[in-house]
């Protein structure tokens, strides 16, 4: 088939069974947009900012498990999208970003809207391409999708000069991807797995340390089975929320900086860490030399570079978590005695009793944690939950009753304010049956507020719940704790009228100060089925606790904060 580069892009997206592209047009990508105009195979959602297009594609990818696709123009369009690329890279989200570039003849001349896009995206993508000949385009696009979704998933960027999108060449998409230099190991080494299971069977206080890789590899079901069968308790990282049900007796909670006391103590006391798709991030480990000091480490990960990067693994197992856990289950059934860990369960139960995750209801103001819990009570499994970044994000990770993988979409590695709303749009697009909630902050929501328009136009009724503390709360908390209450540039007393703002875009807004009002607003927003902002006035000075101060040891948590 002899077609133009632009037509190839469309044909490739169709061949990849893409159902939605999030994007924003401009000069260098216009040939492709012209072909988008002519086709009916997939939907194009016009976000109102390129950053939002990429975040929406991330949200879509996370909720659906498919590769997200975003499309943007050269220069400023591309640079606007970079934050999304970096975000997807840090959180291993499969994504293909297609950007326009100035024509080949102008590359290197500082042409209008020219920027060295692949130079910029190199450190924040799994791989990138500058296409110099339309004849390469089918192969490159196919590789891009393949690389994005296989191995450790990640974003792939394809930069296409305008003249290449006009160039006619042969389109053949049937050839299988054959990359001599890229062959991810997916099955775990059998001998190593056997040794690991023997080690677990001999341990007294084993602990599953579940990371986001479990969600990415669709291994949650198997991990549930493994923990149930062996009765080994589990902690989840921030990224792994929803792997085990919130009410699973074996799930301790989240660990790390704002993890529960019991989760962090379990990690400090365990003699056998079974790390599944987790990467020993500094927000999880605290002080490395004190982390899981008494334990042997089994580390299962698809990315060899993650294994023993920060903490030495006694049993390194490189492979797809899903395959490895599948390989582990029959061996575990034979060798691990689930009755062996009763004592360990008791110890953990005691930690839980000593300092459970909790908050105090006091004063007239709503507590932000209550709002999160309440959404959980009212919607539970029926909602998908996205967040922005800050205190509201941590409270959501702590208090929402997650019931399934892919229910939880939040920016972990990069911590990108402005992620939540566009991501929630992508989540909604992937799962129209469920309510898509973005739990956000009064600071973060303004970082992609223009997406109200996208939500209205494309009928994506995301409900934004602002836990409004009139602060850049998380930064304010650090200033309170570590900077002697010098609240430098974090007071957000000056605010827009969020109700009017929602209204101005054609959505619906609520200002909420009581529990009754909150329930009513949420109910009404769901019924109205348009994009909503529920602006909840919450206690201004609430802190996220417990907390491991940066660089501190997990077992040394700040459990409460008393006004001095």
């Amino acid at each position: 088939m002899q077609i133009s580069g632009a037509q190839m892009v469309i044909e490739a997206l169709i061949a990849e069974e893409v159902e939605v592209v999030f994007g924003y047009p401009g000069g260098a990508i216009m040939n492709v947009y012209d072909e988008i105009y002519k086709q009916r195979s997939f939907q194009h959602i016009l976000t109102r900012h390129e950053q939002a297009a990429v975040h929406a594609a991330e949200g879509y990818a996370k909720a659906s498990g498919k590769v997200g696709v975003a499309m943007i123009t050269s220069g400023p369009g591309f640079t606007n999208g970079v934050t999304g690329l970096a975000d997807a890279y840090m959180d291993s989200i499969p994504l293909v970003l297609i950007s326009g570039q100035v024509p080949m003849s102008l590359i290197g001349t500082d042409a209008f809207q020219e920027i060295d896009a692949v130079g910029i995206s190199r450190p924040c993508t799994k791989h990138n391409y500058l296409v110099t000949d339309a004849a390469d385009l089918p192969r490159i696009l196919k590789e891009a999708f393949y690389i994005a979704r296989t191995g450790r998933p990640g974003p792939v960027h394809v930069d296409i000069p305008k003249d290449v999108t006009a160039q006619i060449a042969t389109f053949d998409y049937s050839k299988e991807v054959d990359l001599e230099t890229y062959k991810p190991t997916t099955k775990g080494n059998t001998r190593q797995i056997k040794k690991a299971i023997e080690a677990i069977a001999g341990s007294k206080r084993p602990l599953l340390y579940i990371g986001g890789g479990v969600i990415n590899s669709n291994a949650a079901e198997l991990v549930r089975e493994f923990s149930k069968m062996t009765q080994i308790p589990a902690v989840e990282t921030f990224m792994a929320r929803g792997t085990l049900r919130y009410d699973d007796p074996l799930l301790i909670s989240m660990l790390g900086m704002h993890g529960s006391y019991a989760a962090n103590m379990a990690m400090s006391e365990t003699d056998m860490v079974i790390a599944l798709g987790a990467r020993f991030d500094d927000r999880v480990t605290g002080k490395l030399s004190e982390f899981a000091k008494n334990a042997q480490i089994i580390h299962v990960d698809i990315d060899p570079a993650s294994v023993s990067k920060l903490v030495h693994a006694h049993y390194p197992i490189v492979g797809d978590v899903k395959n490895v856990v599948e390989q582990m289950i029959p061996l575990a059934k034979e060798q691990i005695d689930p009755a062996r860990y009763t004592q360990w369960h008791n110890t953990i139960a005691n930690f839980n009793k000593l300092h459970p995750l909790s908050y105090k209801e006091e004063g007239d103001r709503l507590k932000p944690q209550w709002v999160v819990e309440r959404i959980g009570q009212l919607l539970g499994d029926d909602a998908n939950i996205s967040t922005d970044v800050g205190q509201h994000q941590m409270w959501t990770a702590q208090f929402y009753p997650f019931t399934r993988p892919r229910q939880w979409v939040s920016s972990g590695g990069l911590g990108t304010m402005g992620f939540g709303f566009p991501a929630a749009l992508g989540v909604k697009r992937a799962d129209m049956e469920r309510v898509s909630i973005n739990i956000t902050g009064d600071g973060s929501i303004l970082m992609n507020i223009q997406e109200l328009m996208t939500a209205v136009e494309f009928k994506l009724p995301v409900i934004n719940v602002i836990l409004n503390n009139n602060f850049l709360g998380m930064v304010r908390q650090w200033q309170t704790l570590f900077y002697d209450k010098r609240h430098s540039q974090t007071d957000l007393s000056i605010q827009p009228d969020f109700v009017k703002l929602a209204d101005a875009f054609g959505g619906v807004g609520y200002r909420v100060t009581t529990k009754e009002e909150f329930d009513a607003a949420l109910k009404d927003a769901i019924e109205k089925n348009v994009v909503a902002i529920i602006d909840v006035a919450v206690n201004r000075f609430e802190n996220v606790l417990p907390m491991v101060p940066a660089g501190g040891s997990l077992f040394n948590m700040m459990l409460e904060y008393k006004e001095k």
Partner: protein, 157 residues
């Protein structure tokens, strides 16, 4: 602090435009040292070979090789233990210095005089990097005007 070691790493990569920037970017982005880096196509193949001299703790070196491997166009990474390593140097020396003495010194380091002009001559040596260091120390007394080193190339024994 963990002990740091000097290491020679060879990387076989696809011969494509952006590969050098990927590798250089990896080293700078992750804060790894590059003492020297050489690159040239492998004859009659679609690959190039890079020889990178770096230093770091055992853990850092392990990360370097793994991170290199993670780059899509990288085929193989060798972290050499037992290797033959060679480097070359070119030195420009004023003609006013003693030709005979220079020739003798250069010979001792597998070298020769490759160019003689009206004002300056150029000598070349090719040897192990530590011997190159010695040579460059010794040649100082002939007041070299310019020195260029190639960086190491290496092969496993």
């Amino acid at each position: 602090m963990e002990q740091t070691e000097r290491r020679v790493i060879s990387v076989i990569v696809m011969n494509e435009a952006s590969v050098l920037s990927r590798i250089a970017g990896l080293f700078s982005g992750r804060g790894y040292n590059i003492e020297s880096l050489t690159v040239a196509p492998i004859p009659d193949s679609k690959y190039s070979r890079l020889t990178i001299v770096t230093s770091g703790s055992v853990r850092v070196i392990e990360q370097i090789t793994k991170q290199l491997h993670k780059l899509i166009p990288v085929l193989k990474v060798y972290e050499h233990a037992d290797l033959v390593e060679t480097e070359m140097a070119l030195v420009k020396i004023p003609m006013s210095e003693s030709l005979g003495d220079i020739e003798a010194l250069t010979h001792a380091y597998n070298g020769r005089i490759v160019n003689v002009g009206s004002d300056t001559m150029i000598v070349t040596v090719s040897d192990e990097p530590s011997r190159i260091n010695h040579f460059l120390e010794a040649i100082k007394r002939f007041h070299p005007k310019e020195i260029v080193r190639s960086g190491s190339v290496a092969l496993e024994r």
